[in-house]
Symmetry: C2
């Protein structure tokens, strides 16, 4: 997709195969800064600290991390262990590491470095191509969801599942980009997504592509759905269990409940690598608990809504900060992948991916 | 209730009847600052800018605003119009102004000033006493909601409906204070309440009284309810329609949906002055749209979760900022008032207040 009108991707392998450049997403939308990752440690830090985030991008970044680690002389298994420990919920991370291991472990150590780099490049290229196809399938679903007589399609999303969360195109936003390219009038309700405000990444992305959007507090999603101001909700996923339950950014479940209450379809868009056929149900998905400091600071606004202070919670305050929640399959109208779409159920997923049952 | 162990109230009339002191709630929890209101304009500004907030406290403050206006020589009706325009959703504001007008308009202008002051003092005193009684009724309900075998009662709330939102005791938190005083182990899940972060006021209040609490992002409420970590949800209200629909801080509806899905009781606590028998249903309640700047700024955290920057949305970003939402009566287990509790329905409210039908 584009930054300031120029095509780019979120992860750019250097031509000498010694490093990858990423966009430091903790700086956006305040500042666009690229960061060069040269080592396993830098890659693991970039994932854990959310300089790169989004399940598909985490997977691709980890694949490059394996290649960088091998060039440093770190053993394959040790590299995979370090990277696997960075974030527990997104299964794409485990998927990419398993694919790298399967591809590399039969090779002699001397050949692993170059092979790892090539496989990481393939994973990244495949992610971009898959997401484009997912976008085409999803755009058709969104168009069907538009209410009769409405010129504009109003889509609500949560967190950032746009091209910044992937190598390119995005998952939840790929259908939005495809629909926009096809000339459909699309408007996106962008949820702030506390505590890390990934909604601002979504706003920044949509701004780059001239797609109208409106930012809301996460709390406002129910009211907008209740008022009929949303035609469809579409989100990405960090892990989809074999029964169709979906782990995604915390707050997703609340939007799914409100969509159901309003009779609005709730779609989940994700590539095959997000589906964990070995995980029977959402209750088996580990939910990452992140540092409470993400919540301890907040802005103090004065009476004129201007910034008056940066406030801090009372020092004794306990904070709980789960980063994901699980949306039961029953609340999901369809799961959209690069292969098409299916009901959110064991049967639906198994029909779409017949060879993938564990 | 207490600040640093000393009893206080949120609004303190001066002994000479020329001013009232309030706590500037836009400064909390960062700084405890009192502010003296001497004029109608200062009072209207304090309400509109949320230096005082919370439906019952807005009502009491407006009553004092009428008294201050009369001392400035402003006519009764003009004063009420100015104050009524500050915030549209909380009906306690209209209720307090109507009560002041009914009490004063039969009096000769020369007598209105002193009578207005005395009536405002009565409104404030009654609010404190009512909330205490409400707390006693609510504590019994909370205690019944505690799951068998649990030593601790886990209560979730939204926004701040504690003593800071009233003249004293609070509405949703009054039952928590009463239960705590009675020796019950209570722990409160405190929702941040974006965009204005009134959850931090709740944290500050509970901290003053030694009641354990945990702050969460608004987005985390669904997960906690789903996991069985909440025995009851209790919130305040800005307006209760005659059919039991409840307008309260935006995000309340999402918690009510999640409570229903988890089989957890959802209670609304409010004094009689919050019930609008002239309003047939939630759809007739005006929803305040506040300034988008409340959402435009957010904290940028670096990779170590430390404050790196104050970020701003792309300048072209549209923002929607509805301050309230409506929770349908069907999601509310009971409405708790100073008189007891009742089902959230037209019949329930009419039985509790038989003379108040419009």
């Amino acid at each position: 997709m584009n930054i300031n009108g120029k095509p780019t991707r979120t992860i750019l392998p250097s031509s000498d195969g010694q490093a990858v450049d990423i966009i430091d997403q903790t700086q956006l939308p305040h500042r666009l800064a690229f960061l060069r990752l040269r080592t396993l440690a830098e890659t693991a830090h970039a994932i854990a600290s959310m300089q790169v985030r989004g399940a598909p991008l985490i997977g691709a970044t980890a694949a490059f991390g394996v290649a960088l680690a091998l060039r440093e002389g770190v053993a394959l298994e040790a590299a995979c262990q370090t990277l696997a420990a960075t974030r527990p919920t997104a299964v794409n991370l485990a998927w990419a590491l398993a694919r790298m291991q399967a591809h590399l472990q039969a090779l002699p150590p001397a050949a692993q470095g170059e092979a790892a780099w090539q496989e990481a490049v393939r994973i990244a290229d495949e992610d971009a191509a898959q997401n484009r196809r997912l976008g085409e399938h999803g755009a058709a679903l969104l168009n069907e969801a538009r209410r009769p007589g409405k010129a504009r399609l109003d889509v609500m999303t949560h967190c950032n599942a746009g091209w910044l969360a992937t190598v390119d195109y995005g998952t939840a936003l790929s259908p939005v980009y495809v629909a926009h390219e096809a000339g459909l009038r699309v408007h996106v309700w962008v949820s702030e997504t506390r505590p890390r405000n990934q909604g601002l990444l979504t706003a920044w992305e949509l701004e780059q592509h001239g797609i109208p959007y409106t930012v809301i507090a996460d709390n406002a999603a129910g009211l907008l759905l209740q008022r009929g101001e949303v035609d469809a909700v579409i989100v990405g996923a960090d892990r989809i269990a074999a029964n169709g339950d979906v782990a995604n950014k915390v707050g997703t479940y609340l939007k799914a409940l409100a969509a159901q209450a309003a009779g609005v379809p709730f779609f989940v868009a994700a590539p095959r690598s997000t589906i964990d056929f070995a995980c029977p149900a959402g209750s088996a998905i580990p939910i990452e608990e992140r540092h409470g400091d993400e919540l301890r600071l907040c802005l103090g606004l004065d009476g004129a809504q201007q910034l008056a202070s940066v406030r801090q919670l009372p020092s004794a305050s306990a904070v709980a900060n789960p980063a994901f929640d699980v949306t039961p399959a029953a609340l999901v109208r369809a799961i959209v992948t690069e292969r098409g779409h299916c009901p959110a159920s064991g049967e639906g997923l198994a029909a779409l991916y017949p060879k993938s049952r564990p």
